[in-house]
């Protein structure tokens, strides 16, 4: 492999990796607040892409407005899911809530199909122009947007958790809900915020990647699986692990294209997921939530 190929593969790996990391972060947010894995997480990404396509392509909104509105709308949808269903579950187990999130994903997928139809949607990259040449590799400008904005969002989330009072309260809830509640933290509110942030992050991922990959109503579950694989690879429960896991998974996928037929691309992440869980269920980086997680049922 020459240096051009290496750069090529690194850039495309980091691009999809950033998306997986955002999905993985979304999983972690809700998981830390509720012990629930939100199976509709992939639908947030799909909706982010589809809504942006509609806003730009049909309503002719400016790009910045479409992005903000999409992220806000899907964030609000996250809040609605918590308000309308998750927070109302009475004597159900964590698994009941998981089934409810599966039901939510069916509703969102079907609604999208009815609204926009089965064909892939698309909008132009954020900036027009020919691809850059870096060390002989062809780099789409949109890839830089994905890596740049994705990175900013992750950094922003990091600052939110470490610097802001609200972020620290959320962290306290993630570590020990009961103790946080005794300290006067409103745990219900933290859950609601987790759903909002999770929806917003997912939508952002969808908006960023759509110019490169299109958006279709049924792409959500595969994305969810990959985001989950990224989280598992890094170790569940920690944001930094999701980011490293996402990037690693992106690179592995990019590398796999060199040896496998393209139809197998989606399977690579799943094989990685299975292998990681078999070898070290706590993730290669060792998340602290492993025990709680693998035994929650």
């Amino acid at each position: 492999m020459d240096s051009a190929q290496l750069v090529q593969f690194a850039i495309s790996g980091l691009t999809v990796g950033a998306i997986y990391a955002l999905v993985g972060l979304g999983f972690n947010l809700i998981f830390n607040a509720t012990d629930v894995i939100n199976f509709a997480q992939g639908e947030f990404v799909m909706l982010g892409g589809v809504l942006a396509c509609i806003a730009i392509g049909e309503w002719h909104w400016p790009l910045w407005l479409a992005i903000i509105a999409t992220v806000a709308a899907v964030g609000a949808l996250g809040a609605l899911i918590d308000f309308g269903a998750v927070s109302r579950v009475r004597n159900g187990s964590v698994m009941t809530i998981v089934m409810i999130t599966l039901g939510v994903s069916v509703v969102l997928k079907t609604a999208t199909l009815l609204w926009v139809g089965p064909n892939p949607l698309y909008f132009d990259p954020f900036t027009a122009g020919p691809p850059l040449r870096v060390f002989g590799a062809v780099v789409q400008l949109q890839a830089l947007w994905v890596i740049g904005i994705g990175g900013l969002a992750m950094a922003g989330l990091g600052i939110f958790f470490s610097r802001s009072a609200l972020g620290r309260e959320m962290l306290a809830c993630a570590i020990d809900r009961e103790a946080a509640s005794l300290m006067g933290i409103d745990v219900r509110k933290m859950v609601r915020i987790s759903f909002i942030l999770s929806g917003a992050l997912g939508a952002l991922a969808g908006v960023l990647i759509t110019p490169l990959t299109n958006a279709t109503y049924d792409q959500g579950f595969t994305l969810a699986l990959k985001g989950f694989a990224a989280s598992a690879l890094g170790g569940f429960g920690r944001s930094s692990s999701a980011i490293v896991g996402g990037l690693a998974l992106g690179l592995i996928e990019a590398a796999s294209v060199a040896v496998l037929p393209s139809g197998w691309k989606d399977s690579v992440a799943l094989i990685v997921l299975i292998l990681v869980l078999m070898i070290k269920p706590s993730g290669l980086l060792g998340g602290r939530a492993e025990r709680r997680h693998t035994q929650a049922m």
Partner: protein
């Protein structure tokens, strides 16, 4: 009243085709039987042994392809093909199940979903064997000797007969020592192991059983419809089966029956809605589970208990 259930079901089984004579209704009842066999497998696995699977459509597909390829390419009699279609997924599930069933909860859900997706990829990519996206066509109907199940009524009797048999066996199974071990494993693997139950083997066995039932119903499907393609064996199919089971009720085999009926007939009842059917189905899942995790059967039990309690109340002097 319990004793009347079996004669009633048998009578209904015999009489239904005389009442509903149209081919389309009979066809739906065939699909209901196919779904029921699958749902019972998943109910035993998830409801009774506590192991979630989001990959059942994969086993359903393996069964369908094994039987279809055996019949169309190798000229194997369908009945023999169905045996293979039952055994092959079971063996695969057992081998895969030994390691993966160490995982619990979401991890298991995601990994089984992943397996289903990989199996789907195999159906698409292994073109020389599976025909890729175009699938396998001209699959002969089931036949025993010279008798072919080529009318909707004949296949109805066969498929629903199999479903009733599976249901009765499953019903007996959960009351056996093995069944008690499954139910204990679901609630506490620690307790199960402390009395000498090899839980990792038991879980893999039940996983294999559920895969066998899915494979068998997949073969029924292939021979009935006559044509298969990867589109049928998607993650969505796995999710719909699981959700239908949960809506029916996960703690009872009757829940599997209700779930299979919903899975088959709800799209028909809501046919004016066409694609919007998914919204209604998803909404039922959300609303029902929010108020009653035990599904429709759980809801019915709660109502009956409520009525009994109210009836018992007016005579406090009796106690």
């Amino acid at each position: 009243m319990r004793r009347l259930i079996i004669p009633f079901v048998l009578l209904a089984w015999l009489v239904l085709p005389l009442v509903f004579t149209t081919d389309s209704t009979l066809g739906l009842m065939v699909f209901a039987a196919i779904n029921l066999i699958q749902a019972i497998g998943l109910s035993l696995l998830f409801g009774f042994a506590g192991q979630i699977s989001l990959g059942q459509a994969g086993f359903f597909g393996i069964g369908a392809y094994v039987s279809a390829i055996a019949a169309t390419r190798l000229g194997v009699p369908p009945l023999l093909g169905m045996v293979a279609a039952t055994i092959v997924p079971a063996i695969l599930a057992y081998l895969v199940g030994r390691p993966i069933l160490r995982l619990k909860g979401y991890y298991l859900a995601m990994v089984t979903a992943g397996l289903g997706l990989i199996v789907h990829t195999v159906f698409v990519e292994w073109e020389s064997m599976t025909g890729g996206y175009s699938g396998v066509a001209n699959i002969p109907p089931l036949s025993i000797g010279s008798f072919a199940f080529d009318t909707p009524r004949a296949i109805y009797y066969f498929a629903s007969g199999c479903a009733i048999l599976v249901f009765v066996l499953a019903y007996r199974m959960i009351a056996t020592s093995y069944g008690r071990a499954m139910r204990t494993t679901r609630e506490s693997e620690t307790a199960a192991r402390s009395v000498g139950i090899d839980v990792s083997r038991l879980k893999a066995e039940v996983f294999a059983l559920s895969a066998a039932l899915s494979g068998f119903s997949g073969a029924l499907y292939a021979h009935y419809v006559g044509y298969i393609s990867p589109d049928t064996f998607t993650i969505d199919a796995s999710i719909n089966l699981l959700l239908a089971l949960v809506v029916g009720g996960i703690n009872s085999l009757w829940g599997a029956a209700v779930g299979a009926i919903l899975l088959t007939f709800l799209p028909e009842w809501l046919h004016q809605l066409q694609n919007a059917y998914g919204i209604v189905f998803g909404a039922i899942v959300i609303v029902l589970l929010t108020i009653e995790p035990g599904g429709l059967i759980g809801l019915a039990q709660r109502l009956i208990e409520g009525v009994r309690a109210r009836r018992a109340r007016p005579q406090p002097g009796a106690a």
